[in-house]
Amino acid sequence: MDRIKGSMKQIVPWVVPFLLLICWQVFSWMGIIPEKILPAPSDVFQAGLSLLGTGELYEHVSISLWRALAGFLIGGVIGFLFGLFNGISKYSDLLFDTSIQMLRNIPHLALIPLVILWFGIDETSKIFLVALGVMFPVYINTYHGIKSVDKKLIEMGRAYGLKGKSLFFSVIFPGALSSILVGIRFSLGVMWLTLIVAETISTDSGIGYMAMNAREFMQMDVIVLSIVIYALFGKLSDMIARYFEKKLLHWNT
C-alpha cells in the first residue's frame, strides 16, 4: 500500500464509478438500456442544464436545503442540549431520559399522517419531521459521550483544581466530542432521508416535489436528476462532517 502515491490514492477510488457511468452511457446509446427504464447520463445532465436555465432547479434545491438546515439545527440543538444536561445532571437524567428513550422508539416517519393533519403540507410539517429525526441520534450520542468520559481523567481534573466550567471545557466536553460528532454525522443521514420521504409524500416545492411532478409527465431524466442531487447532497454533508471531525479530533491520529 505504501507504494501507492498520494495522487493515485485520490484517483483510484473514482475509477469504478467512472467506468460504471461510461458503461451506462454506452449501453444507453446502444439501446440496451431503454430510455423508459433509465435515461442516459447525458440526458440527465441535459435536463439539469435546462432546469438550471429556467431557474426551477435553483428554486427547488434552495427550498430543500433550507428545510434540511432548519430542521437539522432545531433538532440538533434540542438533542444536544438534552444530551448535555442529562449527561451531566443526575436530576435531569432521572426526569427526562426514560421519556426520551420511549419517544425514540417511535419511527418518526410513522408520524407523517399525523403531522400532515397537524400542520398541513406547508414548511412546518417538513421541518418538524426532520428535526424529530435528527434529535434522537444527536441526543443519544451526546448523552452517551458525556456519560462515558474516562472517570480517571475527571478525577485527575478535580485533583488539579478544575471544577464546574473549567472541568467541563477542559475534560468533559473534549472527552465527549468524538461521540457527539458521530451522532451529528449519523443525523445528517437521517436528515436527508426524512426530507426525501417528506417531500415525496406531501409538498408543492423542493427536490422531492420536482421528482414526483416529473413522474406525472414521465420525465425520466428529471426523476434521475433528483435522485442524483439527493445523493450529491448526502455525500457533500458527509464530507463536511468528516472535515470537522478531522479538524476537531486531530489529536487522535
Binding site: E155, R158, A159, G161, S166, P174, L177, L249, W251
Partner: protein, 258 residues
C-alpha cells in the same frame, strides 16, 4: 490558592478508616510524615495503597479518623498536594504544554516551560501526548504535578508501567527534584527496590493496617550494590512474603545518614 510556599508540609493521619459499603479497606491508620520526608508505601495489590493516597489528596473522604496538614484537618480537596498517577492521565486533546498548565492560575507560560525543561522535555512542548513514549508521558505528568510547587507530592505507582532502564532514570529524576525542591513526598510502589532506593521510610500496608514502618537511613545517592541496601531490601521482602528472617539484620553504623 497559593502554591508557592517553599516550606514542605507536615502530614499526619490519625485513626483513618475507609469503608466502601461493606468492605473495610483501611482499618485505622496512624502515620506521620515529617516536613520534607520521603515515604514509600508498599503492599500487595488491593491492600488500599491508592485509597490512602486518594484520601490524602482529598479526592475522597475518610469514613472516620482525621488527616492533618500542618496540624489543620483536611476537609476537602487538598490544595497543598499534587498527585501523579500510574497511568499518567494526560488529556489526549491537549498538547504537552497545555496539559502542564491545567489548573495553573495567572501567568503560566514561564512556569510551565520551566517545569517541562526540568524533566528534560523542553523540546516537546507542542507535541500531542499520544505521540510520546510511555516514559516521556510520565515525565510530563511529573512536570504537571511539580509546576504547582506542591508542598506534598503524592505518587501512585508512577513508574509501574515503565521498563527497567527508564524506571531507574526516572527514579533519579524524582530524587533530584525532591532534593532540589524539598517537598514532602509519599510514593506508592510495587517495587520494593524502588522504595528502598528513594525513601527515608518504607511503610508496609497489609489487610488495611500498617504492618511495618522501616527507616532507611542510607546516605544518598544510594548504591544498590552496597550490602546495607540489599539488607533492607531483603528485610522488607521477607516481611511482605511472611518468610522467616534468614539472619539477623544488623544495620552497620557507617551506612547510616545521621
Amino acid at each position: 490558592m497559593n502554591f508557592h510556599t517553599e516550606e514542605p508540609i507536615h502530614v499526619q493521619l490519625a485513626g483513618v478508616e475507609k469503608w466502601y459499603n461493606e468492605l473495610n479497606v483501611l482499618k485505622g491508620m496512624d502515620l506521620q510524615a515529617e516536613r520534607g520526608e520521603f515515604i514509600a508505601v508498599v503492599g500487595k495489590s488491593g491492600c488500599g495503597k491508592s485509597t490512602l493516597l486518594r484520601l490524602v489528596a482529598g479526592l475522597e473522604q475518610s469514613s472516620s479518623g482525621f488527616i492533618y496538614m500542618d496540624q489543620k484537618p483536611l476537609k476537602s480537596l487538598n490544595k497543598h498536594a499534587r498527585i501523579m498517577f500510574q497511568d499518567g492521565r494526560l488529556l489526549p486533546w491537549k498538547r504537552v504544554i497545555d496539559n502542564i498548565r491545567i489548573g495553573l492560575p495567572g501567568e503560566w507560560k514561564g512556569k510551565a516551560t520551566e517545569a517541562l525543561e526540568n524533566v528534560g522535555l523542553g523540546d516537546k512542548k507542542k507535541e500531542w501526548p499520544n505521540n510520546l513514549s510511555g516514559g516521556q508521558r510520565q515525565r510530563v505528568a511529573l512536570a504537571r504535578a511539580l509546576v504547582h510547587d506542591p508542598e506534598l507530592l503524592l505518587l501512585d505507582e508512577p513508574l509501574g508501567a515503565l521498563d527497567a532502564f527508564t524506571r531507574m532514570e526516572m527514579q533519579g529524576l524524582i530524587e533530584s527534584l525532591w532534593q532540589q525542591k524539598k517537598f514532602t513526598s509519599i510514593l506508592v510502589t510495587h517495587d520494593v527496590e524502588e522504595a528502598v532506593a528513594l525513601a527515608d521510610r518504607v511503610i508496609l500496608i497489609e489487610s488495611g493496617m500498617i504492618m511495618m514502618n522501616q527507616e532507611i537511613p542510607l546516605a544518598r545517592p544510594r548504591q544498590r550494590t552496597q550490602p546495607a541496601f540489599s539488607m533492607y531490601l531483603e528485610m522488607i521482602m521477607d516481611r511482605i512474603m511472611n518468610r522467616m528472617p534468614k539472619k539477623n539484620y544488623i544495620v552497620e553504623q557507617n551506612y547510616q545518614m545521621s
